[in-house]
Amino acid sequence: MQKLIKKCIEGDRRAENELYTLFSAKMYAICYRYSKNKEEAKDILHEGFLKVFENLKNFKNEGALEGWIRRIMVNTAIYKYRQRSKLYPIISIDNIRVLHHSDEDIISRINAKELICMIQKLPPAYQMVFNLYVFEGYKHKEIAEELGISEGTSKSNFFEARAILQQAINVNYQNIKKAVSR
């Protein structure tokens, strides 16, 4: 891997392609989670990889390269979000009923792409907070700093995102649930 990094730093296009092939699928899934559609995900991936190749010389080999690239992708997504944050309307979620389901089979029938689609349908602020909290392991305080919001807002966004997702799972898999219970 170090050889590959070295070649990428030297500007070897083949090595850059190899690095891209190695991580693009994983990173595209992450970008997809942070975006509203494939176009936006592609845009984040594009900018993210440009930054990766531009800053690879600064990679200290102290941690995994995948983690470092992931961090760049997430930062790019956060930046994109911040750029557009004022464009997104704040959606108030009223009368959300938190539904409790108790069917383990539902889980087995849910596929990742559908779950990501649910995340994508969240209001942007909720989507961002949910992603950062669940997948990146950020604390609410850190999320607040990154997104320029208060810690309380981060928490409430997360709770509401979770409630929406619960509702979405319930609605989308009602049929599955019925089938399983039969």
């Binding site: 392609n17 899934a29 176009e39 531009e54 930062n75 464009l87 389901h101 792409k113």
Partner: protein, 477 residues
């Protein structure tokens, strides 16, 4: 079980986390293309820096050659024999018995500053006063004497690039010649940039103190005849020395970039993004400025200048936000401010809609500047060097962006978030060539950097900096 909040989180973690998704096929070719473009841009940037550095070196080299040529030409022309005696002990030639010096009337003393600095003192009651006054007539600002009682002479220390003792000149009409010891029978008057000195035959009373004398004569003047052209040139020199105010017209091509500070202070994403998307276009500064000299060294420069700044913005995806009229507009964020597209050509249906600007956009901002600089002059009369530093108040007079919106070129004259006024610091150096007439020419490399941002209410603060070479034509009043 997903009846608890944690279950939802676990569900997403377990299912989504390991998920991988192949990116679109066109992703790598696009990335490859962009990497190639950036690589070429880096080469171009390096090449541009190299060109600028070469140009500066060339200018310095040429000015040095000109300077050397100017001086050496004079020496060769008149065959000045002491050209090689610079930094030699004066007694090496002054103590020759046939060199006429009157030590008790005119003295040379060494300064404690450095070897090449002297102070001249003499007895004003002596006959030599007349000579000194004669000299002073032409070079009063350049001759210094300790004694204030001598009219027309300045007091205090004076740096001399050359000085020889004032000698008795019983009759300084005679044929001009050089300072060769073998030609002492002839009276001569020598002029250099700083002082005139006379020499005539006569007995040497005392040797001079053992001190270093640097001789840099520029002209040897025949005072045996009425040398009108020379006297005229002296008068011109005197005039030009007295003219304190010079006005310049100038033009300076500029290379302008910007330093961007991310106001969120979390990461440097904004900075990196703007840096990668914006590249400099041809910019320039022109206008008029005046230089007022307080004395031979110090001066002040001010004027009114016009700056034209232009930059390219690479193809980018832009989004719609609520515009100044409350309805959704596409907005192009730049490091100088946000360019709001009118809805005449393409209007977004809602906030958050996106639009891809397929080709390079261009942003043009025009300023009127009021610079105030302090200047410090080095060197001689004809060819001089100077340093300068100061500040400038800049006012935006016009801003526009030229966007290619789905094949249609749109010119937008509104950039929101741009400050009307900003300030910058200027440092520079220059070379001035002053022929004997009232005109002079300057080549002036300058570096300018903003100390206040050009934008406000923005995620980033932008501080432009520019490097320019001004070509100036001046006129002395």
């Amino acid at each position: 079980m997903i009846d608890k909040n944690d279950d939802i989180v676990d569900l997403f973690k377990s299912v989504v986390e390991p998920f991988e998704l192949a990116p679109p096929e066109e992703s790598w070719p696009l990335l490859d293309l962009e990497l190639e473009r950036r690589k070429n841009e880096n080469y171009r940037r390096i090449l541009l820096r190299f060109k600028i550095a070469s140009l500066v070196l060339l200018i310095l080299l040429m000015s040095s050659i000109l300077f050397q040529f100017y001086h050496s030409g004079k020496e060769t022309k008149y065959g000045f024999p002491f050209a090689d005696l610079r930094n030699r002990k004066s007694t090496a030639y002054l103590a020759k018995p046939d060199l006429p010096l009157i030590k008790d009337k005119v003295e040379l003393g060494t300064s404690n500053i450095n070897k090449n600095i002297f102070q001249n003192s003499y007895d004003s009651k002596s006959k030599e006063e007349i000579i000194i006054k004669t000299i002073n007539k032409y070079h009063a600002p350049l001759v210094t004497n300790q004694k204030q009682s001598v009219s027309g002479l300045k007091t205090g220390k004076q740096k001399y690039s050359a000085i020889l003792p004032i000698t008795t000149v019983p009759n300084h009409t005679g044929r001009a010649t050089d300072l060769s010891a073998s030609q002492q029978e002839n009276n001569s008057m020598f002029a250099d940039t700083n002082i005139y000195y006379l020499q005539s035959s006569g007995p040497l009373t005392k040797p001079l103190p053992d001190t270093t004398i640097v001789t840099k004569p520029l002209e040897i003047v025949d005072v045996t005849q009425k040398n009108e052209p020379f006297l005229d040139s002296l008068n011109t020199k005197k005039e030009s020395a007295n003219s304190r105010l010079t006005a310049y017209l100038f033009f300076s091509p500029d290379y302008t970039k910007q330093s961007i500070v991310d106001n969120h202070n979390v990461d440097n994403q904004s900075e990196a993004d703007y840096k990668s998307s914006e590249s400099p276009d041809f910019s320039f500064t022109t206008g008029m400025k005046c230089n007022y000299s307080f004395n031979r060294k110090w001066g002040m420069q001010s004027g009114l200048t016009y700056s034209y700044f232009s930059q390219y913005i690479k193809p980018v995806l832009i989004f719609a936000s609520n515009g100044s009229d409350g309805s959704p507009h596409y907005a192009l964020p730049t490091s100088y401010g946000i360019v709001e597209l009118p809805n005449s050509t393409t209007s977004p249906s809602k906030v958050g809609d996106s639009l891809y600007l397929k080709s390079d956009s261009r942003q043009v901002i025009q300023f009127i500047n009021l610079p105030i600089l302090l200047t410090y002059k080095l060197g001689g009369n004809k060819l001089s060097y100077y340093l300068m530093a100061g500040a400038s108040l800049n006012m935006v007079i016009s801003e526009k962006a030229i966007l290619d919106e789905q094949g249609t070129q749109e010119i937008i004259h509104k950039v929101t978030g741009l400050r009307e006024f900003n300030q910058s610091l200027i440092v520079g150096a220059g070379i001035e060539y002053s022929p004997k007439n009232r005109f002079c020419f300057r080549v002036e490399p300058t570096f300018k950097r903003n100390i206040t941002p050009v934008n406000k209410n923005n995620p980033v603060s932008t501080y432009p900096y520019s490097f320019g070479i001004a070509f100036c034509l001046g006129f002395r009043f």
